[in-house]
């Protein structure tokens, strides 16, 4: 197969196509996550969950009841409902900001994915090329910067609703997200101290982090979760708080704030908040996997390049760059989906923290812990490089 015609296209067409392709994958996964959430919560609580919905004609297809029982068609029904339902704008809200908030939620959620690499392939020269929309040197910083803008959607939604419960949710969100951003940033610093050996140009690229975890040898192939478990743990806890997931879903907390920041929202606008939250979760877990779980490498100490080379001995088409790219993306996506499952598992297992507990954990436990972690690793890395 020859794909040179694709590379002959003008750059802007290729970039548009690539961007559309990524959004066309990300958006349905984010939507399907809401369905998975209902099904997984049902299994954890010993209920069957959604298992009735099926389009009339499809019911005649033999064997399709398996999909019906898994609730696959419920997703389409839910999506259709959100689109066609009446979209009320309550009286007394600040209309401009009320409508702007869900749009503002989607923009950072979909744009952070541009700098996240999700696979790699060997080109004809034998060089590993990342599959990413924009391979920038400041990759991680760009993800943090853009995703930190996501908080404004929650604050604005809470404020523009002109109602007490959403307002409390918005205020909580602004305090919580700032509190946990600090620990999150500090927790990844040891990783970048370690990969930026003296003499280098200095990089924050996520692709380089994966490359660093794909080196030969015992220490070269070890994922950072083995060498820096505390960093990984702090990052994960902060990620839960940043994505407003239980046990940190203070802005929402339906038991004391009705629905939190989205109490006054309904129909399509409400669903946009939810797709944005799942997009944040997907991108957040993608970054977590790139940093600590070896990205697209299938197993620790087994890199993607090695496994493709081993496969090429048995199957001749495995040597094709397209196969390698697809395999890398599939492995990476599998890890992300497991991570999403983990998010849901935690949500339906742990109870919600009280607000003062959230602040205590953030400022009195996690932040000192991440500073101590940073100092310890700085000293260790300085001694190792001596």
């Amino acid at each position: 197969m020859d794909f040179s015609f694709y590379f002959d296209l003008p750059l802007w067409i290729r970039l548009t196509l690539q961007g559309l392709a990524v959004i066309l994958v990300l958006f349905p996964i984010a939507a399907a996550c809401s369905m998975a959430e209902r099904k997984i919560s049902a299994w954890i609580q010993g209920r069957p969950g959604p298992n009735r919905t099926i389009p009339p004609l499809l019911a005649w297809v033999p064997g399709i009841w398996i999909l019906q029982k898994l609730g696959v068609f419920q997703l389409a029904a839910d999506g259709g409902k959100f689109v066609f339902k009446e979209d009320p704008v309550p009286g007394g809200v600040n209309k401009f900001y009320f409508i702007a908030a869900p749009i503002l939620a989607m923009i950072p959620a979909l744009s952070t994915v541009t700098v996240v690499p999700f696979g790699a392939y060997l080109d004809s020269a034998g060089k590993l090329v990342p599959i990413v929309l924009a391979n920038v040197d400041i990759g991680l910083l760009a993800v943090f910067a853009v995703s930190s803008l996501g908080v404004y959607a929650v604050i604005l939604a809470g404020w523009a609703s002109n109602s007490k419960y959403p307002f409390l949710g918005g205020v909580r969100a602004s305090a919580q997200l700032i509190s946990y951003e600090l620990s999150m940033t500090l927790s990844v610093l040891p990783v970048f101290l370690w990969i930026n050996a003296p003499g280098g140009q200095g990089t924050l690229s996520l692709f380089d982090v994966v490359q660093f975890q794909s080196q030969p040898g015992f220490w070269g192939g070890a994922w950072f979760v083995f060498t820096m478990p505390l960093s990984a743990f702090i990052f994960l806890v902060a990620l839960f708080a940043e994505t407003n997931r239980q046990p940190f879903d203070m802005p929402e907390s339906e038991s004391d704030l009705v629905g939190g920041f989205h109490t006054e929202y309904g129909a399509f606008k409400w669903s946009l908040f939810f797709v944005a939250e799942y997009c944040h979760m997907i991108v957040g877990s993608a970054v977590f996997i790139l940093l600590f779980f070896g990205g697209w490498n299938p197993l620790p100490w087994v890199t993607l390049t090695d496994s493709v080379n081993a496969l090429a001995g048995v199957l001749p088409f495995a040597a094709h760059p397209l196969f390698m790219g697809a395999l890398g993306i599939a492995i990476f996506l599998g890890k992300i989906l497991f991570s999403i499952f983990f998010f849901m598992w935690v949500r339906w297992t742990l109870p919600r923290f009280r607000y003062d507990q959230v602040m205590n954990i953030g400022w009195k436990k996690l932040l000192p812990l991440s500073i101590a972690n940073l100092i310890a690793y700085t000293l260790g890395i300085a001694l190792l490089h001596k």
Binding site: I138, L141, I178, T203
Partner: protein, 175 residues
């Protein structure tokens, strides 16, 4: 050139929203205009090839500082309408400041000393704010003293806030 168009676009966006910060009656809308203004400044940094500075600008100022502003604004519950109209002295002073600024800019562009210094740098110069290494090196060598002084200023401000906001009971000498 397309970068010129982008420059004008973001320059207008930055200054326009900066004006909106001052003129808006609604405090939340003011804070949001500040947010847009900061994002515009970050875009100007991108046009100068200072990608690191742009990302830091969005991360620190747009992402965290304005969110804190909004938090405080909402906590104090200062809704629109209670902002007093400008005093006469304020208007005179700001007009004077504007005149000074325009005068300064005029002399700056008329003398054209900026243009020669830029064209003097003939070879490709890596912008200080472009890469981590270039930025860090400048920060820890050329600009070490200013960085330390600014850090010290921030520390003093922080201590001042703690002293002002905390009620010290039975500690007469602190007051």
């Amino acid at each position: 050139m397309s970068s010129d168009i982008l420059f004008y676009l973001f320059a207008v966006l930055t200054t326009g929203s900066a004006l909106a910060v001052v003129l808006n009656k609604n405090t939340v809308a003011s804070a949001l205009s500040l947010l847009i203004s900061l994002v515009g400044v970050a875009a100007l940094f991108v046009l100068l090839d200072a990608f690191l500075l742009a990302a830091l600008m969005v991360f620190v100022y747009a992402g965290a500082v304005v969110a804190l502003f909004l938090f405080i604004v909402m906590l104090l519950d200062t809704y629109g309408g209670d902002r007093k109209p400008f005093k006469k002295a304020t208007i005179v002073a700001s007009a004077f400041a504007l005149a000074l600024l325009v005068l300064g800019l005029m002399t700056f562009t008329r003398r054209g000393s900026l243009e020669t210094s830029v064209s003097a740098a003939t070879t490709e110069v890596v912008p200080v704010g472009a890469s981590l290494r270039a930025y860090g090196e400048q920060l820890f060598t050329t600009y070490l003293l200013p960085v330390q002084i600014v850090g010290f200023l921030l520390l003093i401000a922080m201590l001042g806030v703690i002293v002002l906001s905390k009620k010290f009971e039975g500690l007469e000498d602190v007051k």
